[in-house]
């Protein structure tokens, strides 16, 4: 195995990791801040992909406009879902169970709504202009769209870090995560904060759906397919930990890339192996947020 192959394989892993992280980021954000496990997160990812398809193909829109539209659409849909439904079950005993059921019902409903609107045929998006080719250096071929996705992933990490730790709304959101009641007493509009954070999380899902669409197929049921993978990322990274999710995605992406290249017959088991080994030694994930550890 020569070094140029290793580089190529590394970038392959990075692409996979970035997309994994982007889907998982919204999931882990809303869990970290709101304590909500949004099982329907994948459905917002799917919604984003379909919205982007509609904007690009029917409105002859620019791809990047479509990505933003997908984020906006999924974000608004998420805020509606939170304000109209999820908000009603906060604070119930057995809230966790009801959260899962409610978001599960959202999966079923969104799935059929998507089918009603877009049908079951596969939809497709092309790579945006300027990103159809590859960067070729000697033996190394790196598709430019894959590099762009890695870039967007990094951008999301940096922006999220900046918002969460350097801006007032971000700090409020993090504080809300720690103590909903106290923040309410301090005059923070907790319900509004929750709705906004939920909207941002689902918008992240929608944007990812749109970004991934040129590399995948836009099909019904796509939401359920991504949720389990993101779940592994979120669990590994320590639920609610944004950075943890990024590192976990990186770990899974690269483990997969190396396993495919070296032991292809067993590659598919490796991501699960990583998960099981981690959970045996650290049931709360690699990078659990501090308040979780003592649960």
């Amino acid at each position: 195995m020569d070094s140029s192959f290793l580089l190529v394989q590394f970038v392959s892993g990075l692409t996979m990791a970035t997309l994994l992280f982007l889907v998982a980021s919204g999931l882990t954000l809303i869990f970290g801040v709101g304590g909500v496990f949004n099982f329907a997160h994948g459905s917002f990812y799917m919604l984003g992909a379909y919205l982007a398809y509609t904007v690009v193909s029917l409105a002859h829109g620019n791809f990047w406009v479509a990505v933003l539209a997908a984020g906006l659409g999924a974000g608004v849909a998420g805020m509606i879902a939170e304000a109209a439904f999820l908000r009603r079950i906060y604070g119930r005993s057995e809230e966790g169970g009801f959260q899962i059921l409610l978001t599960y019902s959202l999966i079923l409903i969104i799935d059929d709504l998507v089918k009603l609107v877009w049908g079951t045929e596969y939809k497709s998006l092309s790579r945006p202009a300027g990103f159809t080719g590859s960067l070729v250096i000697g033996d190394v071929t790196l598709p430019s769209y894959n590099l762009a996705i890695v870039g967007v992933g990094l951008l999301v990490v940096v922006v999220a870090w900046w918002v969460l730790s350097r801006t007032r709304p971000g700090r409020i959101a993090r504080a809300t995560a720690l103590d909903r009641e106290t923040m309410g007493v301090l005059g923070v509009n907790v319900p509004l904060t929750m709705t906004l954070v939920f909207g941002i999380a689902t918008a992240l899902g929608g944007i990812t759906g749109a970004l991934a669409a040129p590399l995948r197929s836009v099909t019904p049921g796509a939401g359920i397919e991504v949720i389990i993978d993101s779940l592994i990322v979120v669990v590994l990274g320590g639920m609610g930990n944004f950075w943890g999710a990024w590192l976990a995605a990186l770990l899974l992406g690269e483990v997969n890339a190396i396993a495919v290249a070296t032991v292809p017959e067993w590659a598919s088991l490796f991501s699960y192996l990583v998960m099981v080994v981690t959970l045996i030694f650290k049931p709360e994930g690699l990078f659990a947020p501090r308040q979780v550890r003592k649960v």
């Binding site: 079950i89 119930r92 966790g96 009801f98 059921l101 019902s105 409903i109 799935d111 059929d112």
Partner: protein, 320 residues
């Protein structure tokens, strides 16, 4: 007061057995299969609810044990022959006990939603293994031809076999929930910190009920193999775990028989809606959402509180 509720319970049991025992008279295999399915899933749901409604542990991975029961039968029959059907049922249940015991040490270190997601992760792991390891498990092709030998091969006899096993299991679980052990489990849900101050180990009690619940999940899975005469990796998928949660909530998680009623309603709705529209998922989704938002006590729970309200309303009128 206790005598009255005893009489009620007896009446309920009698009615339950009579209704289900009479199903074969219809001479309609569809109704028979449906009733059989309700029995088996009802037991699964009641056992699951010992974990969720009683002890407060929402496992999203009970499909693992349901599947283990099914594959106990499936693999035994596939590799050793049909005569091994019952042995397979036993093996699946025993395997579930061992796996639940060991897995219990892994997953019952965290609580709340962390427990839920961890069980989901292990459930999906088991599903993936079964799905991909097709040389051994048949993978997505499943395993067919699971017909018990001898008299059990007859659909009606098999139905009564299931009825008896389910009745015994549900009776056992009912006794369990009314026993000191059941009381401790309820206490674990309501106030685990205080349970420690009763000198009881919370985790150990949680593991105990996890094993018990999983054993009955496996029994349900094994019995299902004989109802359909085939099994499939779908049994292990998270949707199975989700369905049993839905049944419990629909019926009412704080009522012992709630999940059983929930199972019956879900199985019937699934069939009725599925027969009439391809948009079943929309309808099931809406039903689920309505239940969660407006009737969180479940069908049986709402009925019980409705009765209580009527009674107290009536009493108030009399008082005036």
């Amino acid at each position: 007061m206790e005598a009255a509720s005893d009489k009620k319970a007896l009446l309920f049991w009698g009615l339950f057995l009579v209704v289900f025992a009479l199903v074969p008279i219809s001479r309609n295999d569809y109704y028979l299969a449906m009733a059989n399915r309700i029995l088996v899933w009802g037991m699964f749901a009641v056992a699951f609810n010992m974990l969720f409604g009683v002890t407060g542990m929402l496992s999203f991975g009970q499909a693992l044990f349901f599947g283990l029961g099914g594959y106990g039968v499936g693999l035994m029959v596939k590799y050793l022959g049909q005569a091994w059907f019952l042995a397979g049922l036993g093996a699946g249940v025993a395997a579930a006990a061992v796996v639940a015991y060991l897995l219990g040490y892994l997953v019952i270190r965290v609580s709340g939603v962390f427990f839920t997601i961890l069980t989901l992760a292990f459930g999906q792991l088991a599903w993936q293994i079964t799905f991909r390891w097709y040389r051994v498990t048949g993978g997505d092709d499943g395993i067919q031809g699971l017909v018990p030998t001898g008299i059990l091969g007859d659909h009606i006899v098999y139905y009564y076999f299931c009825l008896i096993l389910v009745a015994c299991s549900v009776w056992f679980l009912k006794r369990l929930s009314a026993s000191p052990q059941g009381l401790i489990l309820r206490c674990v849900r309501q106030n685990p910190a205080r349970v420690r101050f009763l000198g009881r180990r919370v985790r150990r009690n949680q593991r105990r009920i996890y094993v018990i619940s999983s054993v009955f999940a496996a029994l349900a899975g094994g019995l299902m193999a004989g109802v359909d005469n085939s099994i499939h990796t779908n049994m292990l998928n998270w949707t199975t775990s989700g369905e049993v949660i839905l049944m419990s909530v629909l019926g009412g998680i704080h009522q012992f028989f709630g999940p059983f009623i929930g199972a019956a309603v879900i199985k019937v709705i699934e069939d009725v809606v599925g027969a009439r529209t391809e948009y079943w998922s929309l309808i099931i989704g809406l039903v689920m959402m309505t239940m969660v938002l407006l009737f969180p006590r479940g069908l049986v729970g709402e009925w019980v509180s409705f009765k209580a309200r009527m009674r107290s309303g009536g009493a108030r009128k009399e008082g005036v």
